[in-house]
Symmetry: C2
Subunit: 272 residues, 2 copies
Amino acid sequence: MEIMSIGNELLIGKICNTNAQWLCKKATALGVAVKRVTMLPDNIDETAVAIRETLNRSPQFVITTGGLGPTFDDKTLETIAKALGRKIEINEEALKMVKAKYQAYVANMGSQDFELTEARVKMASFPEGSTPIRNPVGTAPGMQVELKDTTLLALPGVPHEMEAIFDETIMPQLRKASNGAAFYDENLYVDIMESSLAPLIEIVMQESPGIYIKSHPQGEERQPHIELHFSTTSSNAMEAQERLRKAVAKLADLIRSNNGRVYSKEHNSNQG
Amino acid sequence: MEIMSIGNELLIGKICNTNAQWLCKKATALGVAVKRVTMLPDNIDETAVAIRETLNRSPQFVITTGGLGPTFDDKTLETIAKALGRKIEINEEALKMVKAKYQAYVANMGSQDFELTEARVKMASFPEGSTPIRNPVGTAPGMQVELKDTTLLALPGVPHEMEAIFDETIMPQLRKASNGAAFYDENLYVDIMESSLAPLIEIVMQESPGIYIKSHPQGEERQPHIELHFSTTSSNAMEAQERLRKAVAKLADLIRSNNGRVYSKEHNSNQG
């Protein structure tokens, strides 16, 4: 899977890409590996090129976030159409969704001034051959299009809308694709110089097929607190947890016998 | 400029990419536009391909973060060497830097067991033709290599080390490249439906060359609080601020005369 986060606000550092982190965590927990995240500007030409590059790598899923709203800088549907070489057309199903939302808003506000303006129709202007995805909490529908190797999904950038659509419509697709696999991890906190730790990690990784161990220095090399993160993906929970447990125990032993300190351990349950 | 953030911890959603946000903010404030951020795994082959793709776009600067430490998963120098088709060699200047750090740590700890292990030498194993960058607060040096169109810079992933190297060595290079340009922005907070706001933004952007206006919905369309972000890049502060002021005033007027509410305004000074 790949994630493409579209929006100038990301590239000027106005916000941190929490949407990508949320999606990475969810996909990983469901046993689907995210291979790349790309942050791109609100620029049709540059971003269409990037989408084509991504599709050429044939990931099973591509999720874009951002750019589905009514304003001029919301260009994702047009960008995807350009990347796919397809026309933009008014999608009747999407238009119904948008209309229904505005009719409800207007009724709530006790007003009558509902009008299907150009900006509102834009949210239903989809690439040919794509289908809208219900947005349970906001106005702009998501979009799904099935390509030869890839399911391409466009979600809004507003976090609670993106999350609601993911949970309702995308999660079941990922779960099906990963065939019951899940992600398992554990943390171990140790005091040892990272450079002394390096060869010990290699020993344990060689003895523990499928286990990935990453060290995250928390202080500096002269105050060597390190968080060790052990992870694996498997469709067999018992077997995965047993493999993790053994790897953690083995590395803890090696660290102790090399004058390191294993001073705490925190269990992370499966994030699914 | 492009940023490449290397580390599995990003792609499993363990951490948010605050390093990229920090760099985007700094570069933007210095008048250097970030065109793309790519998050990549600790995988030499996949990431070397991505680095080559990035260099083919000929950005003036490419900054990588992560993967310069002593453990097996720190593969960025090897990855860059592969991307450039260059050999890895022990860089004598980098080795001096690494040695000096360990000698100081060992002296501080009152110990004598300093040894230039394989893991420690790895931090000085650089692509041919590159130069080390002093790390004022940590162990692993940064790396700089001048290519035909691009200055390629590799920084550590530990945030305070990345930031210290950037401030000391990278910032002056960006400042020189941007020729005194800087980024200016203002926010305006309004109550109006985003879809009603869309045509008003277009009017103001057409009348305000060089001003980019982006709307960030804070609530939902039915409770339409919107943050408007006005920005421009210029080497003339007075002129830029005057242009910004005019665009903000014009859009505020238009929103008021379309039954919207302009309920607060917050000035953002130049982030530099």
